[in-house]
Amino acid sequence: TIGMIAIDKAGNVAVGTSTNGATHKIPGRVGDSPIPGAGAYADSVVGGAAATGDGDIMMRFLPSYQAVEYMRMGSDPTAACQKAIGRIQKYFPNFFGAVICANSTGSYGAACNKIPGFKEFHFTVFRMGLSKPIDEVVICI
């Protein structure tokens, strides 16, 4: 799955997701990616967020919406992502998932849930001053 946030010079925010879902899923199953607030969410006043992982679990918590709301309340993007992950951890400590967050002034961050085999999360950034995209890594919490 890819979840993407784009912000232009004026602070306009858009988000998108695309996926082929879980392998061997029961026909008809849909994950979190196409669900607004779950797979991704945007509000140009605040910023955007996108999630990836186990959609069957993550969609129950609307983590992208939750992260944007945390940023609206003053959290920086990293803290907002961490808090959104924390909401899921409380009920599903072993869930597989990560969230990326960016605010409309260009700050960004990410967070993921630490489980065996998933201790860090890689995401990609292209911002002003770079000539090519860079990979960034966040340590899971």
Binding site: M4, T17, P27, P36, T52, Y108, T124, F126
Partner: protein, 183 residues
């Protein structure tokens, strides 16, 4: 880090990031950037978890889900269980641009896509056929059923509801989802 414009995406899918960035650099909109970036991943079949030929379901079929959102207007277009159309994010954009709805699913979403000019194509590849065949050979393991007969941890379906005492010790769903198999 407060420098705009900015493109950020999950996972190390650099071609997608760059495709989106080039749109912004050329003066395109953030919606165009996101659509282009996600579409690049669909073409590249990023990680096997995006686009055609990946993540076959129990019937061996690949279906696609996508969503796009405008943070200025709160307009959204989304599709799920899209069959036979490779450009899922493009169809999601079309839902936003050409309907008053938000979310179309299944066969009807595919018919909508065709009516909007998207090409009908087979999403199955030799790779996805191989994944599905291997799964059938492994007695349909792993799968996402619980409390059914026959025992889904050992056998393929068809399954029916188990009417006895529910087995609370069944392995958690999240163990089947990992860095190689995710939404």
């Amino acid at each position: 880090k407060a420098e705009l414009p900015l493109v950020i995406n999950t996972w190390p899918f650099r071609n997608a990031t760059e495709a989106a960035w080039r749109v912004l650099e050329a003066g395109g909109s953030v919606l165009d950037a996101v659509e282009k970036g996600c579409a690049q991943c669909e073409i590249d079949q990023c990680d096997g978890s995006v686009g055609y030929g990946g993540s076959p379901d129990e019937n061996g079929e690949t279906t696609l889900d996508a969503m796009i959102m405008n943070g200025n207007t709160m307009e959204i277009g989304a599709v799920a269980q899209l069959r036979r159309i490779k450009n899922a994010i493009g169809v999601a954009r079309a839902v936003m641009e050409h309907t008053k709805h938000t979310f179309l699913v299944g066969e009807s979403a595919s018919l909508f896509a065709e009516s909007m000019g998207f090409m009908r194509e087979d999403l199955t590849t030799n790779h996805s056929r191989s994944i599905h065949s291997k799964w059938l050979d492994q007695s349909c393991q792993p799968n996402y059923w619980k409390n059914v007969v026959p025992d889904a941890s050992k056998s393929c379906g068809p399954y029916h509801p188990f009417k006895g005492v529910k087995n609370e010790k069944q392995s958690p769903l999240q163990q089947k989802i990992n860095v190689h198999n995710h939404d």
